[in-house]
Symmetry: C2
Subunit: 142 residues, 2 copies
DNA sequence: CCTATATTGATAATCATTTTCATGTGGAGG
DNA sequence: CCTCCACATGAAAATGATTATCAATATAGG
């Protein structure tokens, strides 16, 4: 969280970008979130308190967050790109309920390791991956 | 392949849909393919031999294929949905080169098994999943 | 304070996909 | 073979998410 602010400040500095009122507002709201936000989600929630902020700015800013590594981009097949704050170094993947759209996060080092092996066996150097398990959550399957 | 034709015929029958000239043409071209085709890919290649076929029809037909299980839908993050013929029962996942966009397919029962375990541990019943490893292929990393 | 440069918000433009709708066609039942 | 009609088609318009444009504005360094 605190780390996110610092990382972003650093990134803006490196790239010669500016720290603006809007970027601060969006960053604060984003880092506070614990879910997987679409641009629209964030835009609508900000709009209540800060009516002046433009849709395009939210798009641009979330993309900046992803570029500088404080946001992870997700795509659960509903047609909207979603973002979540990067939880420091530990990567996670997702279980997605196709009924209630709830999302469960999990970490599985064994799977990650096997993925690396697969890649290596094919002479591949991986930069990132995406693993999503779709189905019915406990609640929805009963 | 032959199996694909039969499965589609069956599906149309069940749903009270009709077997049309266009559906036959599209199905034949699709099942012959060995790559991951976007609607546009398929439309453009068909258009040479069959100029009359409409873009919307290709969209509609590929969706039908996915519904009846003879096509798998893929999404490698380039903004276009892609389809590939379902290779009977053996599921595979993908290595995607972010430089040359080549795709390598792999099967890994160990990973699949671990995925099921993860799901079960969370009370999840999975219907399908998506696993993609992104990075540089052998050729592009040298 | 001034200035060069980046940023913003409104709007238009893109791009993939879906819908609409008038016209055409497959195939069940005569 | 015909007829009929639900389903299918193709062209074009509509949609929805995202991106580009551009005039006005704000930031940061000197
Ligand atoms: Mn997550
Ligand atoms: Mn494949
Ligand atoms: Zn659920
Ligand atoms: Zn490559």
């Amino acid at each position: 969280m605190e780390e996110g602010f610092e990382k972003f400040r650093q990134y803006l500095c490196e790239k010669g970008l500016k720290s603006t009122r809007q970027r601060k507002i969006i960053l604060k709201a984003f880092l506070k979130s614990t879910s997987h936000l679409s641009t629209e989600d964030l835009y609508l929630s900000l709009r209540k308190k800060y009516p002046g902020i433009g849709y395009a700015t939210v798009y641009r800013t979330l993309k900046l967050f992803a570029e500088c590594g404080i946001a992870e981009e997700q795509n659960f097949g509903d047609g909207q790109t979603r973002f979540e704050p990067s939880h420091q170094e530990n990567h996670h993947d997702h279980l997605v309920c196709t009924a209630c759209h709830s999302i469960i996060e999990f970490e599985n080092p064994q799977i990650e390791k096997l993925q690396e092996e697969v890649a290596a066996n094919h002479g591949f150097t991986t930069t990132h991956h995406r693993l999503e398990l779709y189905g019915l959550c406990h609640k929805c399957s009963s």
